[in-house]
């Protein structure tokens, strides 16, 4: 958890530094930015993979929190780093709109005592999950990338629970070859059954890893 950073962006200096102070007392690492462009510039400048969450004020100049959110989505950061909004008066509809576009949550200013800290903690936990998933997906993608083209084509059929004979007939291969491929796939992907493989494939698909459809050829 220590490598997680809270990227805080609020144009009000008092709010910014007070929240940073509060988070420090909770042993959380916070980096503050006075505006959206400042934040985005810093993100673009950083080369290391980013961990953590974003806390954005809704009403800012020149870029509003929502626009910053858009930019984050455009950079592919919002998929594994939750975005939390600080909403002022009358911004709630906007904050709700932002949630519809994938933001984690929003806190209305001024919040009660530790409402913010609790939400930030939950967001951080979520980030851990998302990060784990990301790591797993990367690994999965690498594993799939390690398979031969024939194995990749064969994999969905296996996952669909087809018998070796059927697969062999469909792919115009010998049953022996199919058996060999099946064994290798299971070994490579560290699964023990067709059902496990199917779950893995479904996850890979949602993660956006390209897998050819099983029924073609």
């Amino acid at each position: 958890m220590s490598e997680q950073t809270i990227f805080l962006c609020d144009d009000d200096e008092g709010v910014r530094s007070s929240i940073a102070f509060l988070l420090r007392q909770h042993d959380l690492r916070a980096v503050t930015y006075a505006s959206g462009p400042e934040l985005l510039a810093a993100l673009d400048a950083s080369s290391a993979p980013l961990r953590g969450i974003f806390v954005l004020d809704v009403r800012m100049e020149p870029l509003s929190g929502l626009q910053v959110h858009e930019a984050l989505i455009a950079r592919g950061l919002a998929t594994h780093m939750p975005v939390l909004f600080l909403s002022g008066h009358g911004d709630i509809p906007m904050a709700v709109g932002a949630m519809a576009r994938g933001a984690f949550s929003f806190v209305e200013k001024p919040y009660a005592d530790d409402a913010l800290v609790q939400l930030i903690r939950r967001a951080l936990e979520l980030e851990v999950q998302w990060h784990g998933r990301l790591v797993r997906h990367d690994a999965l993608a690498q594993l799939i990338a390690g398979l031969s083209r024939q194995q990749v084509r064969l994999m969905p059929l296996v996952a669909a629970g087809e018998l070796n004979k059927t697969i062999a007939w469909k792919m115009e291969l010998s049953v022996r070859t199919v058996e060999e491929h099946r064994r290798k796939i299971f070994e490579r992907l560290n699964v023990h059954s067709a059902a496990e493989l199917a779950t893995l494939l479904a996850e890979a698909r949602t993660a956006g890893i390209e897998i050819p459809a099983g029924t073609d050829s």
Binding site: V15, S17, S18, L22, G88, K109, P110
Partner: protein, 646 residues
């Protein structure tokens, strides 16, 4: 309604029929008179015929009776002559004396014999006795005409046929005898020979009796005929008095009829003119959009036109039967009595038959009859319900807008306050929570401090809550989003301010693009924005002496905020005022910034927040020709829905 329109129609047809009848009515007396006259003439003719027959019969009877009397008289003379003949003495020398001395002869000569001649058997005159030889007898003038004679044989038993005794007499004497005076008075009596020669006549020749005549053969004289002719000719039937009177009567009637006809023509013409006028007046009354009604002085309805009937929903018959529409008319009658001779109307409300109230404007003036006396009141009624409804609607709309503007102002104040307060409150909460956390981590150090830090945090949160609650209470109302064409909203707003703008001497020109896409907006909110911009523009031009021009334009613009491919529905309000004076939109929309003395400085701020809650943009710029252009842009409906869709 229906009956009131039918009644004059049937009346018209009936009167047309009557007028066709009446056009020839004048000839009736003449025709009747002619018929009557014809009857009288017929009667006169018939009467004449009967009289003629009667007089003919009378002539016939008189002729026959006269003939008989004359015949008997001659017979008597003949008998007397015969008697004398038988007593004749034998012829002697002084046979003349003898003859004259014979008493019968003498008596005969005294009577009517003119002379008696004694002829012997050979026809020689034996003796002659003449009347004029006799003394003592009136010497009569000798008969002018023909004399007739009687003859008697002087025979006896012993001497058959010895001679003849012939007595001459004057037939005139016979006819003119006094015994027949009554006949002579009536008739011209003539004795005619066989050759139609008048032997003797009671009338002197030359005078011709022209009446009825009758002839019979006069048997006492051979070949002679007796003719009686009425002295007075019976007048022709057409010369009788009744007929003449009738002719006069007919002439008078004809003249009278002609006079009557002329009179009737005049009457007919006058009637036709009146009818035309009445028809015109009726169609005038029927076509008038103003309700008309006439009432007598007691307030009873005399007349109402179609529009009036429609206004109250009753037919004319019902209105008249009811004796007017009751209380309201009584009420107005007392009022109209007060406002005698005043032409200005008064407003009142009537209940329509279907129950709804009708606002009317009543103008009344005295109803005057032909003699110039007031017999009632004539009223014209204008239905102002619709006008009042529109006024009411406009008033309400203004109220809604004003109310909304008030609430918006308060909301904006609260919102601004909340915004301004929330930031420091947030800082306080964060700091105090941070301090509390820091103190918690170091046990033993002043637990009171921890409590204070926690209380600080709590109180700050509470203050935030209060701000939040106030703001929530004064929050702008929920947006009621609906798909709208922006143009009618603008037109409404301009119409609403029309009077104010006119009073301010501002001329407004609208340039609305009818092809704009719909926008999804809160109508009242947007109307408030437009109203606000219009008012600002009008106020900005208050100090300008030159023409105060206000241009309102709608267009599809790609310009103000970048990023919309579909373009923005943009509204521009351009004034000819002093311009922005170098201020940008941020400054202008800052709460409590105002260039106006009495301004709250919230108008544009409110506009901006309303627009932002619509996802729209408020913009302002100077116009090169002088003046400022405020405007706002809204995303068209379909792009908005895309944007908000997940």
């Amino acid at each position: 309604m229906a009956s009131s329109s039918i009644a004059p129609h049937t009346g018209a047809s009936r009167s047309a029929w009557a007028s066709a009848w009446g056009r020839y009515l004048w000839i009736a007396p003449l025709l009747l008179s002619i018929a009557f006259t014809a009857m009288v003439v017929a009667w006169a003719q018939d009467n004449d015929r009967l009289e003629r027959e009667a007089s003919h019969r009378a002539v016939m009877a008189d002729t026959l009776s006269l003939e008989a009397q004359l015949a008997s008289r001659l017979e008597t003379e003949t008998v007397k002559l015969r008697a004398a003949a038988t007593r004749l003495p034998a012829a002697g020398p002084d046979a003349n004396q003898v003859l004259a001395a014979l008493p019968e002869i003498a008596a005969g000569l005294d009577r009517r014999w003119l002379s008696v001649i004694w002829l012997d058997a050979l026809g020689r005159i034996v003796a002659e006795a003449r009347r004029d030889q006799r003394s003592g007898t009136l010497r009569l003038p000798p008969g002018e005409g023909i004399t007739l004679h009687l003859a008697a044989p002087t025979s006896d038993e012993r001497r058959p046929q010895t001679g003849q005794l012939i007595a001459r007499y004057d037939p005139a004497d016979l006819i003119k005898s006094k015994d027949f005076w009554w006949l002579a008075a009536q008739y011209q009596v003539q004795l005619l020979s066989g050759l139609d020669q008048v032997i003797v006549s009671t009338e002197s020749p030359g005078r011709v009796a022209a009446g009825e005549s009758y002839e019979v053969p006069f048997q006492s004289i051979t070949d002679a005929r007796l003719r009686l002719t009425q002295r007075v000719r019976q007048p022709h039937w057409f010369t009788t008095l009744p007929v003449v009177l009738m002719a006069g009567f007919l002439a008078l009637i004809t003249v009278a009829t002609l006079l009557l006809r002329r009179q009737m023509n005049q009457v007919t013409r006058a009637e036709a003119a009146w009818r035309t006028e009445a028809a015109w007046r009726q169609s005038l009354e029927e076509s008038a959009l103003v309700g008309l009604r006439a009432r007598d002085l007691d307030g009873h309805l005399l007349f109402a036109n179609r529009t009036f009937c429609e206004m109250v929903g009753y037919s004319l018959e019902q209105l008249v039967e009811q004796g007017a529409t009751g209380d309201e008319l009584l009420q107005t009658s007392s009022r109209s009595a007060q406002s005698r001779a005043k032409r200005e109307g008064y407003e009142t409300r009537w209940r329509h038959r279907d129950g709804r109230m009708v606002d009317v404007m009543v103008f009344e003036s005295p109803l005057v009859d032909g003699a110039g006396d007031q017999v009632g009141w004539m009223g014209s009624i204008v239905d102002v319900t619709e006008r009042k409804r529109l006024e009411e609607l406009e008033r309400r709309q203004r109220e809604v807008l004003a109310n909304h503007a008030r609430l918006s102002t308060l909301g904006e104040v609260a919102s601004t306050l909340a915004h301004e307060l929330n930031q420091p409150l947030t800082s306080i909460v964060s700091y105090s929570a941070g301090i509390a956390k820091a103190l918690q981590k170091r046990p033993g150090i002043e637990p009171e401090l921890l409590a204070a830090a926690q209380a600080l945090s709590r109180h700050a949160s509470k203050a935030g809550g209060i701000v939040h609650r106030i703001r929530a209470r004064l929050a702008r109302r929920e947006l009621v989003l609906e798909s709208c064409d922006i143009n009618p909203i603008i037109a409404d707003a301009v119409a609403l301010l029309k009077r104010d703008l006119k009073r301010a001497g501002v001329t407004v020109s609208l340039e609305l693009d009818a092809s704009l896409p719909l926008v999804r907006v809160d109508r009242i909110g947007i109307e408030q924005v437009i109203t606000n911009l219009l008012r600002n523009a009008s106020d900005a031009m208050a100090g300008v002496a030159t023409q105060r021009q206000l241009g309102v334009r709608t267009l599809l613009s790609l310009e103000p905020p970048p990023g919309s491919s579909a373009g923005w529905v943009t509204v521009q309000v351009t004034d000819s005022g002093p311009g922005l004076g170098g201020r940008d939109i941020e400054t202008l929309t800052e709460p409590f910034f105002s260039t106006k003395q009495e301004g709250t400085g919230l108008g544009l701020a409110i506009c901006r927040s309303i627009l932002e809650s619509h996802g729209g943009v408020l913009h302002a710029q100077d116009v090169p020709t002088g003046g400022a252009r405020f405007g706002f842009s809204l995303a068209p409906e379909n792009t908005t829905t895309e944007a908000t869709a997940p």
